[in-house]
């Protein structure tokens, strides 16, 4: 099969409760879907977290990824933002080797890429860049000759442009919120020791 591998940006809105990440990870592992990156954080709606998952796969597989994700009870909404008019960003910190003599050159590069130097040491710089994949790769290419000492990336996050949203505003009753929030979480304070 000559199906083309493509990076898909899938957004899942999930219940903020213990075990959700495990369910999602378990699903990807079990069905053999590859995760390129995964970013999780809170949203505007209390109790709902947003996962942005980048999946490198054929189109048919991504359809399955979405359907299988949607089947998880803790997943409230799934959307594929690939090919949509969306803002897609990723943040990275790159520690690059750089002597004081090279510093000017590197800082020029940083400017060109609209990145920022966030830490300066005698032999190195930490550069922070918020960008899309292509820009990001090109900065790395340019930095490589100096020596990249360390790099960390947050993984992609994405949001549709304009009035459209992928958000869910389906607040639950207070009682349900309490239930969802406390499910699976250890209660605060000392517990009686109950063993057998």
């Amino acid at each position: 099969m000559s199906a083309e591998l493509r990076k898909h940006t899938v957004v899942a809105l999930v219940e903020d409760r213990p075990g959700v990440l495990n369910r999602v990870a378990s699903l990807f592992r079990r069905r053999g879907f590859n995760i390129d990156s995964l970013a999780v954080g809170t949203t505007e709606e209390p109790g709902i977290s947003r996962m942005t998952i980048v999946v490198a796969s054929e189109n048919g597989i991504v359809d399955q990824v979405q359907k299988q994700l949607a089947k998880l009870i803790d997943v409230i909404e799934v959307a594929d933002l690939t090919g949509e008019d969306a803002v897609i960003r990723e943040l990275a910190l790159i520690k690059v080797a750089c002597t004081t003599e090279q510093r000017r050159e590197v800082l020029d590069l940083v400017d060109i890429f609209r990145a920022r130097a966030v830490d300066v040491a005698p032999g190195s710089l930490i550069i922070q860049i918020v960008a899309e994949e292509r820009q990001f790769n090109s900065l790395i290419e340019n930095l490589e000759p100096y020596g990249i000492l360390e790099m960390t990336r947050t993984g992609r996050i994405a949001m549709l442009r304009g009035d459209q949203t992928t958000a869910v505003h389906d607040p639950e009753s207070e009682e349900l919120q309490r239930f969802r929030h406390s499910s699976g979480r250890r209660p605060a304070g000392e517990l009686p020791y109950v063993s057998d």
Binding site: V14, E15, P18, G19, N22, R23, S26, L27, R30, G60, D63, Q64, K67, Q68, A70, K71, L72, I73, D74, V75, I76, V168, D170, E172, F179, S182, S183, G184, R185, R186, P187, E190, L191, P192, Y193, V194, S195, D196
Partner: protein, 567 residues
């Protein structure tokens, strides 16, 4: 009202309609058992192994058509349940599995008998819960039962730490359950129905594959009406057997690895395949890439995840079969497909030898199974293990109503036969329940004989005793050049074994005695074990070798000896 967690659990079981729990106690569930006498409405059946309890809940759920329940303690109790949970998952059986866990302050500290039950079971369930607060118990049970029984049914697991059973909370039963991440499909898309109807009206050689979903969705009558209206012949998957009476003129039985020759040829030559509540499993469909390239596929299922999962689908229809089938019937022309049906009939007649029961004086498994079937009434439930005897039961028994056959399809779990039959008998105390057992599978879970005696469950067990792990032996014979390794299986004296448990036990070594033994078993008021010592090396035909296409179905070698040819 304030109650202990244990009381809330038992009260909740009643609220969700569970009247029987197949359970096994242990340290962490002691507080629950301590309160059981106060709740006599919930019958507790003490099984002999948690796997048995799990399969019993599964058999119960299928026979009763409602939620089954099994209970186990933490650690080894929970891990013993795993096979049964995955079995229920693969076959979409509405089941509730409850386990105890170590007390909350011991969780994560590798406490005695701690196992990460929710972690272990996450990929095996529709959903699961770890309940850390007694006040969440009632809601959790209500939600769990709702999830297990609606949409595509399946197992739901609730894990409860010991001290949560002891804690007290107000018992508040939720008026209604709604889960925002769980949408039941509404009415099917009109446009999909219209597109499907167009294909059905235009088809020359249409075919229905009816799966377990038709039975789970209680849409057997709707299936019959749709098939009769459109004149489309019906094949079944293993778990779909019984969704249309096998005696119906449009019923052509089981397709797949051991499906009938005509069923597999029909599936390979159809120009339109209408899958209804089936999941396009490889055992039914054969090699995916070579499943009938000429056929367009319509696929009706309640689970969107099944659409396009294994086969490209022209028209996926998302909805409840019970609603979709009448819609399709109303949208299509009334037709008959005489030429196409004649074609299938001719294939069947030309290949009638392919599933024929060998003649001669020897005792064949097929012969025994067919004779049991002939002595069943309309209420009889047939439960099987996994292997050759299972396939022969599927081929030769005439299933005519839903859930008449209870078998482990998706997971293919040997050892299912005894405990699942036990569960089915609990669900249908007055029905005749026959368990068609493998001599291998029987030895995996036979400890439940004791439970049957305790509960006086009159299950009839037919051990199809070929002295082999027969299905594996068949593969070694056909695909590994007769290299038999680890398939000859020794066994105890089954009659003595049955008697040791206090069960009536018979041995049949002679084909003439088959009928007598079946009649004796049927007439006996109590469990009966019959050791049918059948020929050792019979093979199940026809067969689609693993990895082959349905069109490559292989038939039994033609009879060779002159006398047989002459016949």
């Amino acid at each position: 009202m304030r109650m202990s967690g244990a009381d809330i659990v038992l009260e909740s079981l009643k609220r969700v309609g569970i009247d029987t729990v197949f359970g096994y106690p242990g340290g962490v569930v002691l507080p629950l058992y301590d309160r059981w006498p106060a709740h006599p409405e919930v019958r507790h059946i003490l099984v002999r192994h948690e796997q048995g309890g799990g399969h019993a809940a599964d058999g119960y759920a299928r026979a009763a058509g409602r939620l089954g329940c099994a209970l186990a303690t933490s650690g080894p109790g929970a891990t013993n349940l795993v096979t049964a949970v995955q079995n229920a998952m693969m076959d979409s059986v509405p089941t509730l599995f409850v386990t105890g866990n170590v007390a909350r302050n011991l969780i994560g500290r590798d406490g005695f008998q701690e196992a990460d039950a929710t972690g272990i079971l996450t990929p095996c369930v529709k959903h699961n819960y770890l309940v850390m607060h007694a006040e969440n118990l009632a809601h959790t049970f209500a939600e769990a039962a709702y999830l297990a029984t609606t949409g595509r049914p399946g197992p739901v697991h609730i894990d409860i730490p010991k001290d949560v059973f002891i804690d007290e909370a107000e018992f508040v039963w939720p008026e209604e359950v709604s889960v925002r991440g769980y949408d039941l499909p509404g009415a099917a898309d009109e446009a999909d129905i219209a597109r499907a109807a167009e294909l059905i009206d235009a088809a020359e050689r249409p075919l229905i594959i009816a799966g377990h979903g038709v039975i789970l969705g209680e849409a057997c009558e709707e299936l019959r009406q749709f098939a009769e209206h459109t004149g489309v012949p019906v094949l079944n998957t293993l778990l779909g057997l019984g969704s249309i009476p096998r005696t119906h003129v449009l019923s052509y039985g089981m397709m797949g690895m051991h499906g009938s020759y005509e069923a597999n040829m029909a599936a390979s030559n159809a120009d339109l395949v209408i899958g209804i509540g089936n999941r396009m499993d490889d055992r039914a469909i054969g090699r995916f890439n070579d499943f009938n390239h000429h056929a367009k596929l319509i696929h009706v299922d309640i689970d969107a995840g099944e659409h396009g999962k294994n086969l490209p689908t022209a028209v996926p229809i998302l909805g409840h079969v019970k609603d979709v089938l009448p819609q399709l019937r109303d949208a299509t022309r009334q037709r008959s497909h005489l030429d196409w049906i004649r074609w299938i009939d001719e294939v069947r007649d030309d290949h009638s030898h392919s599933m024929a029961i060998p003649s001669g004086p020897q005792m064949t498994s097929q012969g025994v199974i067919k004779r049991i079937s002939e002595r069943c009434d309309d209420e009889t439930v047939i439960v099987t293990g996994v292997g050759q005897h299972q396939m022969w039961a599927a081929q030769h028994m005439r299933f005519s109503y839903p859930n008449q056959l209870i078998t482990s399809g998706g997971l293919g779990t040997m050892g299912f036969e005894v405990p699942a039959a036990m569960g089915a008998q609990v669900a249908k105390p007055d029905a005749l329940v026959w368990s068609i057992c493998g001599d291998g599978g029987f030895q995996m879970t036979l400890q439940e004989l004791a439970t049957m005696v305790d509960e006086n469950l009159p299950v009839k067990m037919a051990i199809i005793n070929n002295g082999y792990l027969g299905m594996v032996r068949q593969w070694q014979e056909l695909f590994y050049e007769d290299n038999y390794v680890a398939v000859a299986i020794s066994q105890p004296d089954f009659v003595k074994l049955g008697e040791a448990y206090g069960i009536k036990a018979l041995r049949v070594t002679d084909a003439d005695k088959i009928d007598g033994a079946i009649a004796e078993a049927n007439d006996h008021d109590g469990p009966v074990l019959v050791d049918f010592q059948v020929e050792a090396e019979g093979n199940v035909w026809p067969m689609v070798p693993a990895g082959s296409a349905l069109s490559e179905t292989v038939e039994a070698p033609r009879p060779e000896t002159p006398s047989e040819v002459a016949r």
